[in-house]
Amino acid sequence: MNFLFGEKEERLRSEIREFVKENMPPDYIGNMFVEEESDEGWDFAMSMARKMAQKKWLVMSWPEEYGGMGASTWERVVLAEEAAYWGIPGLSMGISGTAWVGPTLMISGTKDQQDRFLPPIAAGEPDGVWCTGYSEPDAGSDLASLQTRAVRDGNEYIINGQKVWTSCAHLARWMWLICRTNSDAKKKHQGLSIFMVDMRSEGLTVNPLRNLVGGHVFNEVFFKDVRVPAENLVGRENEGWHQLMTALGFERGIAISFTASVRRKFDALVEYVKDAGLMSRPRVRAQLADLAVDIETARLLAYEPVCLAEEGIMNVHAASRDKANIDHLHEKLARVGTEILGAYSQLDYLHKDSKWTKLGGTFEHLYYYNVGMAIAAGTTYVQKNIVGQFGLQLPRSY
C-alpha cells in the first residue's frame, strides 16, 4: 500500500509544471468543450497539442514508433491530472484520437491503418483530429438500434444515414463511425461495423447545433451515398460492437482528469471565498469542507481501476461508477460555486471578459455545461445500469 506517487512520476509532474509556466497563460482555468467552441480556443488547443507532441507527451503511453514514449500507466495518470488541473487544452474531446481512436486502433487496427492514422494523431496535426459518430436521432442510450447503413460496393462501402450530437465534427478531419452492415443479424448489436471516414468525403454534410447557452460543441452529420474505401473498416465486418466497447471503455476512463479539473476550480473558489471575506460564514465553510471530502474521495476512486490493472485485474465497471460519481460531483461543485458567487453567477460566460465576471466565468460555464457532461458518453443513469449489471451482477434492469 502506498498513497504517494513515485519519484519518477513526481519528476514528470514538475517537468509538466515547468512547461505550463512557459506555455500557458497564468491563472488559466480550463473549461470543458471550450476548445471547440471558438476559433481562438481551437487554435490555442492545436498549438498546445503540437507542443505536447514535441515533448512526446500527447500520446506518452504509446510505443515510440508511433510517437509516444512508452510511458508507464502512472506517468500517464500524472499527465492526465496535470493537464486537467492546469487546463492544458488539446488532450481532450477535440483531439479524441489520442484518447480512444488511437488506443483502439493499436488493438484492432491493421498495420497499414496504424501506420496511416497513428502518426498524425501523435503529432497533434489537424489531420489527426477526430470526431466520434455513434449517436443518432433514434439511437442514443439504445445505441445498438442505430440505422445508418453501410453497403459494400466493390472495394468501397456506401454510407447513408444520419448522426447527431457529434462533438467536434465541424473541426475534425476524420470520423470514427459506427453503422449497420447487416440488417438481418439476430441481435441488434450484431451486424455493426466501425469505419474511419474522411470528413471531406462527398455527400457528407455537417450542420452546427447550438446548445442552450448558445455554444457550438456538437453537430448533426448527414451521409448521402458517402463512399468509404474498404481498407478503412476497423476490425472485421459486423464485429463493430466489440471495437465500440473497447473505445467506450477508454472514453469513460476520464475520472482522473475530471477530478483534477474539479480540484482546480475548487481551489479557485476557495481563494475567491477568502479574498471576498466570505470564509467566516459557517454555511460557506461547511460547503467547502464537504466538497473537499468529495473531491478527495473521487480522486482515490479514480485510481482504483489503475491500481487493479497494475495487478492484472480488469475492473470494467469502475469507469462507469466513476463517470456517474463525477457527474454528481460536477453538479454539486457548480451548485455550490454559483451559490457562493451569488448575484454574479447570472452573468453570461460567453462574456467572460466583462468587468463584473468572477473567476473568468468558470462557474457559470460549469453550471450549464456539467448538465451536458452528465449526458455525454452515456448518461448518469446508463452508467449506473452498467455498474448494476456488470459490477454488482444484478439482472438487467430495463
Binding site: M1, N2, F3, L4, F5, R17, V20, K21, P26, D27, W74, V77, Y85, W86, R264, D267, A268, V270, E271, K274, M279, R285, A286, L288, A289, D290, A292, V293, E296, T297, A298, L300, L301, Y303, E304, V306, C307, L308, E310, E311, R321, A324, N325, Y381, K384, N385, V387, G388, Q389, G391, L392, Q393, L394, P395, R396, S397, Y398
Partner: protein, 388 residues
C-alpha cells in the same frame, strides 16, 4: 500509488476475519445486546492470547510491535463483523497516548497490562456539551502536595462499568485559552470517590456517567505534562477519528454486502428486486459511497502510519464515515423491506450503532470545521506556480 496489501497483511486480515466469524457470530452479538457487560470476557481473553490487544504495543512491553496498517486491517474486520468489545477505547483511545506520551515506568506498568492481561482502558473526556472541544473540559484537578484531587462528572465514557483504568481529562488551569490548562490523569477505576452509572444507549455499548468526588491521584499518574493535556487529546482525537472511520468502513461494507445479496435473492413481481432500476441505481450509489469511504480511510491510516498525515485528511475520513454509515444503513434497511426493520435481520445490528459510531472520534460538525480551517490556511498548487 498502490492499493494492494502484502502477504503478511493479508494473513492478518484472514486470521482476524476467521476469528471473529467463529467467536462472534451474529447470534452472540444479539445476546450481548442484553448483557450489561456488553462484551464477552472469554472472547476478550482469547483476543489477548492471540496478541490482538498488543497489536501496536512494542515487544518489550509484551506486544506484537505491529504498525498502524495492521491496526487498520484488524479494525476494519472488527467493524465488518460487528464485534462488541472495549477494543477501540482500550487500543486507539488509550494505548496510543500511553505509547506516545507515557513515561517509561508508565509504559512498563500499563502497556504490559493491556498486551498481556487485557486490561480495559477508557478515555473519560466528554462532559455536558460532549463535542470534543476544550471548553467542555471542566472537571477540576486541584493540586495538593504533589497529588491531585479530582472533582466533576464525565459522560459517555466507553465501557465505564467494565474499565480497569480511566484516562481522565481535567482542568488544571481555568484562566485564558481553554486549550491551555488541561491535564490528563491515569486513574484506577476502583479508586475511592468514583461513582459509575450506566447510560441507556441504543447501541447497548456500556457507556456510562463517571462521577469523580474528591478522587485522589498521585503526581506519578499525570500523563504527559501538566497543563499540556490538550495536545495529547488532539492526537487521540485524530487517531480516534481515523480508526473509528476504519471500523465504520468495515461495517458499511458488510451492510452493503448484506443488502446486495438480499436484492439478488428476494423476489417480487416474479423477479429479483435487484432487477428494478430504482433498487439497482440506489445500490450503485451505495457502492460508490462504500468504495469511496474504504479508500479514504485507507489513505488517512496509511499517511498516519507513514508520518505524513494531515489534520484535514483525518477529519475527511471521519466526515465521510459518518455520512456513509448512515446512508448505507438507512437505505440498506429500506431495500430489505419490513424484514429489515426487525430484530431478525443482521442489518439492524449495524444500524443501532450509527449514533455511537458517529460520536466516537468526533461528529461531522467538528470535523467539517477542521477541514475548513485547513482550507483557510492552504496554498493551492497554482499559487505556488504563479504567486498572486
Amino acid at each position: 500509488m498502490d492499493y494492494t496489501f502484502t502477504k503478511d497483511q493479508e494473513m492478518i486480515r484472514k486470521s482476524a476475519r476467521e476469528f471473529f466469524i467463529k467467536e462472534c457470530p451474529k447470534d452472540r452479538v444479539r445476546e450481548l445486546k442484553d448483557d450489561p457487560q456488553a462484551y464477552d470476557p472469554l472472547m476478550w481473553k482469547k483476543m489477548v492470547d492471540l496478541g490482538f490487544l498488543g497489536l501496536i504495543i512494542p515487544e518489550m512491553y509484551g506486544g506484537m510491535q505491529g504498525d498502524l496498517i495492521e491496526l487498520m486491517i484488524f479494525t476494519e474486520e472488527l467493524g465488518r463483523n460487528l464485534v462488541p468489545c472495549p477494543f477501540f477505547g482500550t487500543v486507539v483511545e488509550c494505548t496510543v497516548p500511553l505509547l506516545k506520551f507515557g513515561t517509561d515506568p508508565q509504559k512498563q506498568k500499563y502497556l504490559t497490562g493491556i498486551a498481556e492481561k487485557g486490561a480495559i482502558w477508557s478515555l473519560a473526556q466528554a462532559e455536558q456539551v460532549a463535542d470534543f472541544e476544550a471548553e467542555d473540559i471542566n472537571l477540576t484537578a486541584e493540586a495538593d502536595n504533589g497529588n491531585f484531587v479530582l472533582n466533576g462528572t464525565k459522560l459517555f465514557v466507553p465501557y465505564a462499568a467494565e474499565a480497569d483504568f480511566f484516562i481522565v481529562a481535567a482542568r488544571t488551569n481555568k484562566i485564558g485559552d481553554p486549550r491551555e490548562g488541561v491535564t490528563l490523569f491515569i486513574v484506577e477505576a476502583g479508586a475511592e470517590g468514583i461513582g459509575i452509572e450506566a447510560m441507556p444507549t441504543t447501541a447497548r455499548d456500556c457507556r456510562g456517567e463517571v462521577r469523580f468526588d474528591g478522587v485522589r491521584v498521585t503526581g506519578d499518574n499525570v500523563l504527559g505534562e501538566q497543563d499540556q493535556g490538550w495536545t495529547i487529546l488532539d492526537t487521540v482525537l485524530q487517531h480516534a477519528a481515523v480508526f473509528k472511520a476504519v471500523e465504520m468502513s468495515g461495517g458499511a461494507q458488510a451492510v452493503f454486502d448484506l443488502t446486495v445479496n438480499y436484492a439478488r435473492e428476494r423476489k417480487q413481481f416474479n423477479k429479483s428486486i435487484g432487477s428494478f432500476q430504482a433498487v439497482q441505481h440506489k445500490l450503485v450509489d451505495l457502492l460508490t459511497l462504500v468504495d469511496g469511504l474504504k479508500y479514504l480511510v485507507y489513505e488517512a491510516a496509511w499517511h498516519m502510519n507513514n508520518g505524513t498525515s494531515s489534520r484535514g485528511l483525518n477529519s475527511m475520513a471521519k466526515v465521510k464515515a459518518n455520512a456513509v454509515y448512515h446512508e448505507v444503513c438507512h437505505h440498506g434497511i429500506v431495500l430489505h423491506g419490513a424484514i429489515g426493520w426487525t430484530e431478525e435481520m443482521d442489518i439492524g445490528l449495524y444500524h443501532i450503532k450509527t449514533k455511537a459510531a458517529q460520536f466516537d472520534g468526533g461528529l461531522s460538525t467538528l470535523h467539517l470545521e477542521r477541514i475548513a480551517a485547513e482550507l483557510e490556511a492552504y496554498v493551492p498548487e497554482y499559487r505556488k506556480l504563479y504567486p498572486g
